[in-house]
Amino acid sequence: MIYCLFAIVALISIYTGRHYGFTLNRLFGFQRHPYIDIDTAEWPQVTVLVAAHNEEKVITNILAALMAVNYPPERMLVVPVNDRSTDRTREIIDKFSAEHPGRIHAFHRQGGKGGKAAALKDAMELVETEVILIFDADYIPGRGLIKQLVAPFFDPEVGGVMGRVVPLNVGTNLLTRLLDLERSGGYQVDQQARMNLRLVPQHGGTVAGVRLSALREIGGWNDNSLTEDTDLTFRLLLAGWKTVYQNRSECYEEVPETWSVRIKQIMRWAKGHNQALVAYAFHLLFGKHRATLRERIDGVLLLGVYAMAPLTLIGWFLTLALFYEGVAPLHGVIALLAFTAYAATGNFAAFFEIAAAARLDYTRQRICLLPFLVLGFGVSIFSVSRAVVSQLMAPLTGAQFHWDKTERFRAAP
């Protein structure tokens, strides 16, 4: 048992060190924003896919925002991917299509496999452009965002692009405020540091883009994945394509306003991420492909973030068990576990990352909420662990592929 504990503490310490490294890089390192200054160019044709499943509350906002962007209208086609909606989503999309002839081509999906990846896969029949941008329906792109997300594709090495997600409904309640802080840490520090250090910025599947030829080369969308974005990140990486992060390409999103929705969301992320861990980690680390050594190491650590939650719980359990077994002295290990656990568990960004992000965002008072992150941490660690257990049990219980859509809270227009 004690060697298991040592191994867990060692792993958690690696993640802690990684988070410290990222934070210091953001505060003091060289910052890479190579494509953000491309504001004049012969902009290529682009298709903007808007994934929408029962999105009557939010679809109007994103379509209106896309019609107002400064991208040449004759070079941009918006394809709302209406995935088997049973509410007014179809009606709203059709109304917009009629009002903007030639600029919106609706894709109404009546049946087929559930999940965003399956819907996007089907919608590819309408895509003829080399650059594809993807948005979830609750996002509100700014006027210059499309150009910013297209610009990196002038680099022939870039296969995927990811922008920064900024919560819009911040002030609703404690949960939204905590998610705002988490997003800050995750994007402003974590993603940008990985961009700076030429590691593996993660494709987020929204406020994002992908190169059609790269997507075809890696076999298209994987509709068996619960997180098609993570899956895409690693398949691009293995094929030698870069995913780049654009910290200044910011886009508003709606974050969950209830804990139950948040728990469902994070459980889906955990399951999808762990699918990718099983599918790609070994090959990424030891296989023959085009990723660099630093990308291999960071990629595996990135794949492992959601495995750290159950490992942390097991570590806590082991310390208790060993204590009552009379194994001593363990105080050093226990102290290390206590110190590092909160700072190491992947998606629930470490508190010092969030503090650094708040500073980089020039925000002031919201940093006062840091102590409440313990609450989010507690919910996340148990939710993720529950997701992992259900995944491990799936072969025994016969659980099928199931995709939970994140509920929206905006008032319908």
């Binding site: 190579p34 004049t40 090495e157 911040v170 008072q365 006062c368 409440f372």
Partner: protein, 357 residues
């Protein structure tokens, strides 16, 4: 002391101590002093003319006094709603800059000229200047911001600290410092010794174009701004494209890249390390380097040119074309007289025009 009371007191004290670090959090949660979404730029989208357009609105509000002054050939003073003083010039002769029989060295008012205006030498303009006609600066002048509805000429060793925009041509003589943004709806011409950061115009030229001129102005010789080419050839080491070779698609190398003299890349080229483009080479797509880049003489690049650490562009080279605008971007850019860029030239730290070697 009653043991129960003592236990209660201890419990209360421990609870209070636990709550202390939570107090600021609770206060913030209740008062929501910082509960707004991050201020994401949604509207002006970094448009280079944003400040010029904003200032033009102020100038338009002064059209009444401006017309009066132009009609009567007089000057007028007043105050804007924000409290700034303004000076309207209807007939801008040297007397406009005299106070108490002495020539001003500092003008603290917003200047709005209704006609062509020629400014005296050695002056500092603390506020913006608007000219409805042509604006000719004085030698060694310092400006906060300049907006000209026709041509703008900055004389030698002038300095602009915020932005400048000309609806007509914008020219800067030798040794001018253009911090911030400079733009023109027609063309920009900077001479050797000028420093710049962000430039935008349909055509940006540097000094004397003699020698590079004939071909440079020909639209038919544009490197094609083609649709994004598909796929790429990936090399894990340094790559040397031989002189005169033709590469049919995109090229990516994880090492250094040299494009030989007279070679042509029909797609784009990217290197993770230094990139060198020899004289007379031509790249139809973009040039991207994660390090430094040196583009030799008389090269042609169709798409964006980006280097993460710095770019040197030699004379006779042209990026973009009259019908295919593009962006050249790096923290530092050194560009020789005789080069041309069609679109945007953006040096985050500093751009510098140097004489032809």
């Amino acid at each position: 002391m009653n043991p129960s009371l003592a236990a209660l007191a201890l419990f209360a004290l421990a609870g209070a101590l636990f709550m202390v670090p939570l107090l600021p959090a609770i206060v913030e949660l209740r008062l929501k002093r910082d509960a707004q979404p991050l201020n994401v730029i949604q509207q002006h989208a970094g448009e280079i003319r944003h400040f010029a357009n904003g200032f033009r609105k102020i100038a338009v509000e002064l059209q009444g006094p401006l017309h009066d002054c132009v009609a009567t050939g007089t000057t007028a003073l007043g105050k804007l709603p924000n409290g700034d003083e303004y000076l309207v010039l209807g007939h801008p002769g040297d007397d406009s800059w005299m106070r108490g029989g002495k020539m001003l060295s500092i003008c603290r008012a917003v200047v709005v000229a209704g006609t062509d205006v020629a400014l005296p030498d050695g002056m500092t303009f603390v506020k913006e200047i608007y000219a409805a006609g042509e604006l000719t600066g004085g030698k060694g002048n310092s400006y906060r911001a300049v907006l000209g509805e026709k041509d703008v000429l900055l004389r030698r060793a002038s300095k602009v600290t915020r932005w400048a925009h000309a609806t007509g041509a914008f020219r800067a003589e030798h040794d001018c410092d253009l911090y911030g943004r400079a733009s023109s709806d027609r063309e920009i011409d900077l001479n050797a010794g000028c420093i710049f950061q962000r430039l935008n115009a349909p055509r940006i030229s540097f000094g004397d174009l003699a020698g590079a001129a004939e071909e440079a102005v020909s639209a038919s010789s544009d490197a094609a701004a083609a649709p994004l080419p598909v796929g790429r050839t990936l090399y894990d080491e340094d790559l040397d494209i031989p002189a005169g070779a033709v590469i049919p698609g995109n090229v990516v190398t994880r090492g250094k890249l040299r494009i030989g003299a007279g070679a042509r890349v029909l797609g784009s080229a990217k290197s993770d390390k230094a990139m060198t483009v020899d004289a007379g080479a031509r790249v139809d797509g973009s040039l991207i380097s994660a390090s430094r880049m040196h583009i030799g003489r008389n090269c042609r690049v169709g798409g964006p040119v980006v280097a993460e650490h710095g770019i040197i562009i030699d004379s006779g080279t042209r990026c973009g074309g009259p019908r295919t605008s593009t962006t050249v971007s790096a923290p530092t850019i050194v560009i020789e007289e005789g080069a041309q860029v069609f679109g945007t030239l953006w040096a985050r730290d500093e751009g510098r025009v140097v004489p032809r070697a």
